[in-house]
Symmetry: none
Subunit: 141 residues, 4 copies
């Protein structure tokens, strides 16, 4: 089961609704497929212009490493030079903090990742998780 | 009048509907603001994975140069080295062909750009134009 | 209300006058629009040749992240790997220290950023703030 | 005799005045020193956001190669691969067309370059030349 465009739209809509419910700052949400390629993205009004790159960096690192944002942050705090080196081989495209969420289907297979940015990293992750669960998939934050 | 997220969604939805009506190949559509930053993007199922970069490159060149895809293509055909050099200063982010459409508000001010990719460049431009006109703005193809 | 060229000139002139009044080292000042694009720049005589990139990096990070230099520096000191990663996704164009000042209009909307470099970061920020306030806008340092 | 900030301001002001006199499209003007580093830049209201990079690319190529835009264009038309290779070694920062003007002092020494963009390349060069001559220097277009 993959993330098709219809599911990606639902993930984004539900993540943004969660942001409004929790009164978070304006959010930006990207959904990537299992190859790390963009399926869909939305940036809420009043979000900073550069938010695509941050959302993308959170999700891209998750899917490319098969490691969600929380685990990436732990690794960055333990071994900053390692995550810096990882960024070297991935062209500087990885943002190793929460808000980059791995998406697994019912068999546990990674089918993509969601990246959320705009509020605190932990709140970003909550919004992402809400979106993923709305399509019956599992979020690894 | 700027392109807010609501208008960007409508542009994408109408561009994709036009693609289905004309039985085009799966399309990908990006909407950028007046500074060339991504507001929203969608890639239809079965489109090739790398379509974000192509859609983005069409729209990005349009907004950064203030010149739509058709005019960019004419310049590239007349002076290939010029468009190659332009791409150098813009980090290789410009795709100078139709499907990159400038969006003007009712006063004629450029408020962003739309990039469509997936079918022929000319059909991509038709889909983009349809989306732009659906929000009462003017498309310069 | 946006930063037009006339206002950008005033911001630069007043920032440089403040530098002379405080007897700061030669300053360089850039003004960016809400999309992070250069409107105007000036480098005083005897400033080091590479000052454009530093001034630009301070202002660019501010506008792209919607976060002024002081807040960026706090984040860099708390989580160095995060600001390093942010720089990766923004092409190494961010200088996360004071002197990168967000510009808000009377409604509080971010309309651009000013970057000043040449003296201490704190003095750079004072010069930037003086320039911004001279056009009736609000500086977030 | 070098291009100090006062002269750079005059060059820009006179180039922009020439543009208004000839009813050219909105112009952007950069002044570089003999090392290819930015002294000053201005972008007129309504110019496309990406104009700094184009103006800079015209002037940078001129000063780095010691060859004005017209001569660069002739070389690009005769030997496109050569100018492409030049761009490789200069990090893709060269736009080899008219509008990139070398500035010589009274002894004939190159003291910098001016880059103008916004109208046709030939009109851009006229505006640049007008600015340079206003400070008693010689423009090689």
């Amino acid at each position: 089961m993959s993330i098709n465009l219809k599911r990606a739209r639902t993930i984004i809509r539900k993540a943004l609704e969660k942001g409004r419910e929790l009164e978070l700052k304006p959010l930006s949400v990207v959904v990537l497929d299992a190859g790390g390629h963009v399926i869909a993205f939305e940036r809420e009004d009043m979000a900073a212009p550069g938010r695509f790159a941050i959302a993308h960096g959170k999700a891209y690192g998750a899917v490319m490493l098969g490691m969600a944002g929380t685990a990436q942050m732990a690794r960055a705090e333990a071994q900053a030079y390692f995550m810096a080196a990882v960024n070297g081989v991935y062209g500087g495209q990885v943002i190793p903090v929460p808000g980059g969420v791995l998406v697994r289907d019912k068999k546990g297979t990674i089918v993509g990742a969601v990246g959320v940015t705009g509020d605190t990293s932990d709140n970003d992750a909550i919004a992402a998780q809400t979106g993923v669960e709305a399509v019956g998939m599992t979020a690894e934050i």
